[in-house]
């Protein structure tokens, strides 16, 4: 067996008191393909950021040993110089530049102080040949498919004399053919002596390509499975990936009263002209009165797109299929139409597109339904304050007054303001997208309690979540999505972490 090219020893990293990584050990042998696996939030990205110098030396504990010597990266260019290159899921290409310019950006081929373009193009052709990409180097990157763009990224890495190539979910946005090509290429590069680390959620890929696989969970190394000994199997990976009990952090609902169907989707598809692909395909889905429906799936599986396509379609997807609210067929032209039909959507990114951070709590709570407290367009401030105060109390928002700027609140309180804002609309159906992301356990419990109270009052909830524990702990029924399709539907009695994970990683 060859020696290790990379050893990360006892790596720990905290963010303002929260431990993201604790004593992680991660060893990669020279010339192998090593897969890094774990749920969302397990610490994979953090670990790779430590390795690449995004988090500079000194902000973490532990050692990085690369090719036998301890490394102290202060910035990304340090790690690149050593021969470690990361390719992120969100490609870092310049769409309006040509392929050859992209390959050598920041690493220009020079003669004297000027760029030698002829030489650049010649070199670019060599790199493209190595990655098996047959395009004119003068093509603009935006005119290439995502799969080919991915290859340009790899060519760019090769131009920097890469020794260790790290790929963060490289096939997440690719179709099957492109994925297969990419995996083949990794095999080719392996023959040329390049070591690769691949982060992936697709277990089949992992099984087919990995020499070794390390599983992370909750910021800790759980195990490293060895492909040579046939240890890498779907069951082994899933068992190690989830392997935790649902703690008693989900309040029990007193009783269930499930009623008629509130929302129904048939053959529902959405095409994004921006991404030039279907983000949703042939979805059948329904929600009944008084139930919490969980939607599980990995990031990019189409969960958020599903919510947006129902909620007035703000991204302007081309929609096909049928949407019925309480049995009546509907077409929403604007989010306001969806709101009028009794649908509310609490976004995933509360700071980005959920809240008005520079405004106060009161203005945020009433923002989506100001007419409720206005008469002929003139706001009745007394009424507004009165109603906002009620929501501040019932949402357990901790703030000195309604006049506090929302941007200064903690994540949990911001989320409760978000929730309050949408309950103020008086919806029949509440869509929660990652309702507890990045908030502490106490606030989580409060949000779960509010959810239970709402359904006992006859509301319906769709909960999109990456946390399997939450999905299992709160839902009455679980849908599982992957690659824009519904992969399965399970009643809560039959759902468990293993079968959900299996469907989500198909």
């Amino acid at each position: 067996m060859s020696g290790y090219i990379l050893e990360m020893n006892e790596i720990s990293k905290s963010f303002t008191g929260v431990k993201a990584l604790s004593n992680v050990n991660f060893k990669v042998r020279k010339g192998e393909i090593h897969c890094l696996i774990g749920e969302n939030g397990a610490g994979k990205s953090t670990l790779m950021k430590v390795l690449s110098g995004v988090y500079p030396y000194g902000t973490y504990e532990g050692d990085i040993v690369f090719e036998g010597s301890v490394q102290q990266f202060n910035k990304i260019s340090d790690s690149v110089q050593t021969g470690i290159v990361i390719i992120y899921q969100e490609l870092a290409l310049f769409p309006d530049l040509t392929v050859y310019e992209n390959i050598f950006v920041g690493n220009e081929v020079k003669r004297g102080n000027l760029v030698d373009w002829n030489q650049t193009i010649a070199e670019a052709k060599k790199m493209l040949k190595r990655v098996g990409l047959d395009v004119n180097p003068e093509t603009l990157v935006k005119d290439l498919s995502v799969g080919k763009q991915q290859l340009v990224e790899i060519a760019k890495a090769l131009s920097k004399d890469v020794k260790l190539l790290i790929l963060d979910e490289p096939t997440a946005a690719l179709n099957e053919d492109d994925s297969e090509n990419l995996l083949k290429l990794l095999g080719e590069l392996k023959k040329q002596g390049i070591t690769s680390i691949m982060i992936s959620h697709k277990l089949k890929e992992v099984i087919s390509i990995a020499d070794q696989a390390t599983v992370l969970r909750d910021g800790k190394t759980i195990c490293t499975l060895d492909g040579y000994n046939g240890e890498i199997s779907e069951n082994m990976i899933i068992k190690n990936m989830v392997g935790r009990d649902i703690d008693d952090i989900y309040p029990k609902r007193p009783h269930k009263k499930i009623g008629e169907t509130i929302l129904e989707l048939n053959n529902w598809s959405a095409y994004s002209s921006e991404l030039a692909r279907h983000v949703l395909k042939d979805i059948d889905f329904h929600v009944k009165k008084g139930e919490i429906v969980g939607i599980a799936g990995l990031m990019g599986s189409g969960r958020t797109e599903l919510a947006l396509s129902v909620f007035g379609n703000p991204k302007n997807y081309k929609l096909e299929g049928q949407l019925k609210v309480s049995g009546v067929k509907k077409t929403f032209k604007h989010t306001s139409d969806a709101i009028k039909s009794g649908i509310a959507y609490v976004t995933e990114d509360r700071k980005g597109d959920g809240l008005f951070l520079i405004q106060d709590i009161k203005n945020n709570i009433t923002a989506a339904n100001l007419n409720e407290v206005a008469d002929k367009g003139i706001i009745n401030e007394n009424e507004e304050v009165k109603r906002a105060t009620e929501y501040k109390r019932s949402m357990y928002i901790k703030a000195s007054s309604l006049e506090q700027t929302v941007g200064n609140l903690s994540g949990g309180n911001q989320q409760k303001v978000s929730l309050g804002k949408w309950l103020f609309v008086g919806p029949k159906l509440l869509i929660l997208d990652e309702p507890t992301r990045g908030i502490d356990v106490g606030a989580k419990f409060e949000i779960y309690t509010i959810m239970n109270k709402l359904i006992s009052e006859g509301m319906s909830i769709i909960m999109i979540s990456s946390e399997l524990g939450e999905v299992l702990g709160m839902s009455d029924r679980v849908y599982i999505m992957a690659e824009g399709r519904m992969k399965g539907e399970l009643p809560i009695e039959e759902a468990n972490q293993e079968n959900i994970m299996k469907l989500a990683t198909q």
Partner: protein, 391 residues
């Protein structure tokens, strides 16, 4: 002692809101001393406010445009062009003033809506769309005045808008009675609204300032209104321009602070994506704001034309930049969602005071431009620094 401490923390916490008032006070005081009181004379203040009018109304509209993260460069020549059309309608077509003014205002709204259409529907950056408008209206202005040159207006009623004063009813001790009554009324309305707001805040357990500070503020602001009224009443009383300016401010202040539309404008400014997801029609708000901007540009054109009693071939030159400067001095933020219409008026008065004071002192035009530029940078710098401190 407690009073002073509270005052100090209040000023510290609200420095952004108070900053321009303090600046205006300092500027007025400095010029008064340097000109031996000539600056604060009835005649000068009256002239100063009248010459601010056509920029101030633009600054009000511009503030809202900047609040929703856009800009409008077309309004200067749009005002000039609409002013020329006003003159043509009044003189060549012989239309009466009460027909002409609504027609011009409507035309302004149409122009603004067209800008809004390019920006909201076709996603053309507002800078480019309105830059094109600026060129077009400059050409249009030349086109309609090419043959005649300056168009002189002889309609007294129209010319009174920019030069006349409200009737005085009676002169008491050399002061104009109606102006005095109006001043007194505004003081009473101000005191009443402040007290009722405070009552409400106390009722809902909001934080309020102590009684001492509150009384001080009431007395202070009332004194200022009284002083300005007294100054103006001693000359010719309130001019029609000042009355129009005040009406615009009151209307827009009400619109922005008390109505659903106003709240939606600020929501779109602070986070357009969140506004869209909150069911607010962002495009509609963009139309409204640009439509209002167009209407105010028309009003500005009317005020300016009336003030000159004629339409000229260069009317409206650089108005848009003066309005933008006034809005920024008045505390609007290009990051969106922040900025008050009252601030815009103060900003316009600050800039006008600088011009007026420097004119009295005989400062050359070249120096005047540089100093005004410096003040603009200082105002925005101040805004950026105070925001950093808080953030």
């Amino acid at each position: 002692m407690e009073f002073i401490n509270e005052a100090r923390t209040l000023v510290k916490e609200n420095i952004r809101d108070y900053g321009m008032y303090i600046a205006l006070f300092v500027i007025m005081l400095t010029f008064s001393i340097m000109t031996d009181g000539l600056f604060m004379s009835s005649r000068n203040i009256s002239n100063l406010l009248d010459s601010t009018g056509y920029i101030a109304v633009l600054a009000v509209g511009m503030t809202l445009v900047i609040v929703i993260r856009h800009i409008d460069l077309s309004i200067g020549f749009a005002a000039g062009f609409l002013g020329a059309i006003t003159a043509i309608l009044l003189t060549k077509m012989g239309l009466p003033i009460y027909v002409t003014i609504p027609v011009i205002l409507l035309l302004g709204i149409v122009i603004g809506l067209f800008n809004g259409l390019l920006i909201a529907k076709y996603a053309i950056p507002s800078f480019v769309a309105t830059l094109a408008g600026m060129l077009i209206f400059r050409g249009a202005l030349l086109q309609v005045t090419e043959k005649t040159g300056t168009i002189i207006i002889k309609d007294d009623a129209f010319n009174a808008i920019g030069n006349g004063f409200i009737p005085s009813l009676m002169i008491v001790n050399g002061l104009h009675l109606l102006s005095l009554i109006l001043g007194l009324l505004s003081i009473l309305i101000y005191i009443y609204s402040e007290i009722s707001t405070r009552r409400n805040k106390i009722k809902y357990q909001f934080e309020v300032v102590s009684k001492g500070i509150f009384t001080f503020k009431l007395v202070f602001v009332s004194a200022i209104i009284a002083y300005v009224t007294w100054i103006l009443a001693g000359y010719n009383g309130f001019s029609w321009t000042v009355v129009i300016m005040l009406l615009v401010v009151v209307a827009y202040h009400f619109l922005t602070t008390k109505t659903v539309l106003g709240r939606h404008i600020y929501a779109v400014g602070s986070n357009p994506e969140a506004a869209h997801l909150s069911g607010i029609n962002v495009n509609k708000i963009t139309y409204m704001v640009f439509g209002s901007m167009g209407m105010l540009a028309a009003l500005s054109g009317i005020l300016f034309t009336s003030r000159l009693q004629s339409a000229t071939t260069t009317a409206g030159t650089l108005f848009e930049l003066d309005a933008i400067a006034a809005a920024y001095v008045g505390g609007v933020s290009s990051a969106g969602g922040v900025g008050k219409v009252t601030g815009a008026i103060i900003g316009a008065i600050v800039m006008a005071s600088l011009s007026s004071g420097m004119n009295l002192l005989g400062v050359g035009v070249s120096m005047q431009y540089m100093i005004r530029g410096g003040v603009l940078v200082a105002a925005v710098l101040f805004d950026v620094m105070t925001r950093k401190k808080r953030g």
